[in-house]
């Protein structure tokens, strides 16, 4: 039986897939500029769009997520603070998404690994997706290379120039960056005892294996025509396409879905800021402020919705809650010195 949230998610997922399909169809001049050898990549992006939007919609409809989602957008779109919010968004995007400051504070090595993986993948997708959707083509104009976007000529560049080198090797460079990230991450997963005890094959290692296979098979294409005289190029290109398709199909279901979830972190910053300047909740035992009223009331409502009716206990600060098990044990003991 399909629940309401599943029906909503199916609609959202289908809409996303239709939009991507329409984007490919119209962006490629009704498929006239579509590069058919890349159709497997394009088909995988359509499926990935459906699955990611479906999962996102399922996730966002969970009671605590939906409450944050609604509250944050409401706070963000307040007309009197919209300009400030947009400026703040630029800062938040820079700190949390571009340079990922919060990961650097966990560990510099971890930050380096994540920056390599994130930016290697972002650059690779920015190159691959427009090409596989038929949005970008390269052509010759005399001795220069011409870049066309959706059939419109953008600029020319000489192929034997530093810029040309970067353009032609964009995917190779991003593959090397991804491999550096995979190496750093695998080192942690192989030798750090804390990580070893909680990691799982499906959740933590498979994504690294996938990124590794995409990067290596991609580099093999260059190695093939540069060093192997093009031997087995067809097999290698199929192998690379297969690894990329598997990665795209895996994205909505595994650890890599956090790429889609992560912007929620930015929304929380607005929520916290609004809470900090608003009224505060006082602890029923200590009388001290401990939580914004906005957060307290929202959380209480979510907890009631989820069946966690803790009554007055919910009006206590975490510190006072921590004392209560000992205090209630002491009450039960009466005059006994200890439980025995």
């Amino acid at each position: 039986m399909t629940t309401r949230s599943q029906a909503v998610s199916l609609s959202v997922g289908s809409l996303a897939a239709i939009l991507v399909f329409a984007g490919i169809y119209f962006g490629s001049g009704r498929l006239s500029r579509f590069d058919t050898p890349l159709s497997a990549y394009a088909a995988a992006t359509v499926f990935a769009a459906f699955a990611m939007a479906y999962r996102y919609a399922m996730w966002v409809q969970r009671p605590p997520t939906w409450r944050y989602f609604k509250s944050t957008w409401k706070l963000f779109l307040r007309p009197k603070s919209l300009v400030f919010n947009l400026l703040k968004l630029a800062v938040l995007l820079w700190n949390n998404i571009v340079i990922q400051k919060f990961i650097e504070k966990r560990s510099p090595t971890r930050w380096m690994a994540h920056m390599c993986l994130a930016w290697g993948c972002i650059v690779a997708f920015l190159i691959t997706i427009p090409l596989s959707w038929g949005w970008v083509q390269f052509g010759m104009d005399g001795d220069s290379y011409a870049v066309e976007v959706m059939g419109q000529r953008q600029f020319l560049f000489p192929p034997h120039s530093p810029f040309g080198f970067l353009i032609f090797n964009g995917l190779n460079i991003s593959a090397v960056v991804v491999l550096a990230g995979v190496g750093l991450a695998m080192h942690r997963r192989l030798f750090e005892r804390g990580a070893l005890s909680v990691q799982t094959l499906a959740a933590d290692l498979v994504p690294l294996f996938l990124l590794f296979s995409v990067a290596v098979s991609g580099l093999m294409l260059t190695a093939c025509y540069r060093l192997m005289g093009g031997q087995s190029f067809t097999f290698l290109s199929l192998l690379h396409a297969f690894t990329v398709v598997v990665l795209l199909l895996y994205m909505p279901f595994g650890k890599l879905f956090h790429v889609i979830q992560r912007p929620a972190q930015l929304g929380v910053a607005y929520y916290k800021e609004a809470g900090a300047v608003g009224a505060q909740t006082l602890c029923a035992r200590s009388g001290e402020p401990y939580q914004s009223k906005l957060h307290h009331d929202d959380l209480r409502d979510v907890m009631m919705e989820l069946g966690f009716d803790f009554g007055d206990h919910q009006n206590l600060s975490p510190q006072e809650k921590r004392k209560l098990v000992a205090l209630n044990q002491a009450m039960a003991l009466g005059e006994q010195p200890y439980a025995g």
Partner: protein, 198 residues
């Protein structure tokens, strides 16, 4: 999987802080102590209490997590938030009826006691239970605790209208089957020290 269980007895706590120091030695949260050691009321009593995660069967922290970042392992241990998912909202910090999760603003992540999962999952004692000199934190088999203590383990706690069952047990006087956690519990005037002097 281990047949050993965690038992806590706040009435035995002497506030030595050994658990706090040892906790930071655990590899799953190396260098960061996850245990809380609370002073109940310095003016009224010498009583202190260690607070570890009770590892609820139905964890409120996980239920209220908007990012679905808090997972419970097959052997019943509620883990720290998953780093890629946690968005630092602090819902878990304020929803936990025991006040356990810690939010670190620097790394924008919630971390909590995971019963030293690197040790516990292979049958070793969590660090705090290894060093506790008074038995306030005890990790062992049900037979061992029954043999060594008069008190009985209780793992059912009532908060308001909700009963929470936990993996960790609290030592209570004989005959107890659950603990109604009353927010207005008074500070025990006749504390451990005064009573033992009589």
């Amino acid at each position: 999987m281990s047949d050993k269980h965690f038992y806590i007895d706040p009435s035995r706590c002497i506030g030595c802080n050994a658990c706090v120091a040892a906790c930071a030695e655990c590899d799953t949260h190396a260098g960061v102590s996850m245990i809380h050691l609370e002073t109940i009321d310095r003016g009224e009593t010498v009583q202190t209490t260690p607070v570890i995660c009770m590892h609820c069967d139905e964890p409120a922290c996980a239920a209220v997590c908007p990012a679905d970042a808090i997972k419970r392992t097959a052997d019943g241990v509620v883990q720290s938030s998953l780093k890629p998912r946690c968005i630092g909202c602090t819902n878990c910090v304020f929803a936990c009826p025991f006040g356990v999760p810690k939010y670190d603003a620097g790394i924008d992540q919630m971390m909590k006691c995971d019963m030293c999962y690197d040790r516990m999952s292979i049958g070793l004692k969590p660090m705090c239970a290894t060093v506790c000199p008074s038995g306030a934190l005890f990790f062992g088999t049900p037979e061992e605790i029954a043999q060594q203590r008069n008190a009985v383990p209780v793992n059912e706690f009532v908060f308001g209208k909700r009963t929470i069952k936990t993996k960790v047990s609290l030592m209570m006087p004989r005959g107890s089957t659950s603990l109604q956690v009353k927010p207005d519990a008074v500070i025990r005037k006749a504390d451990l020290l005064e009573t033992s002097r009589r």
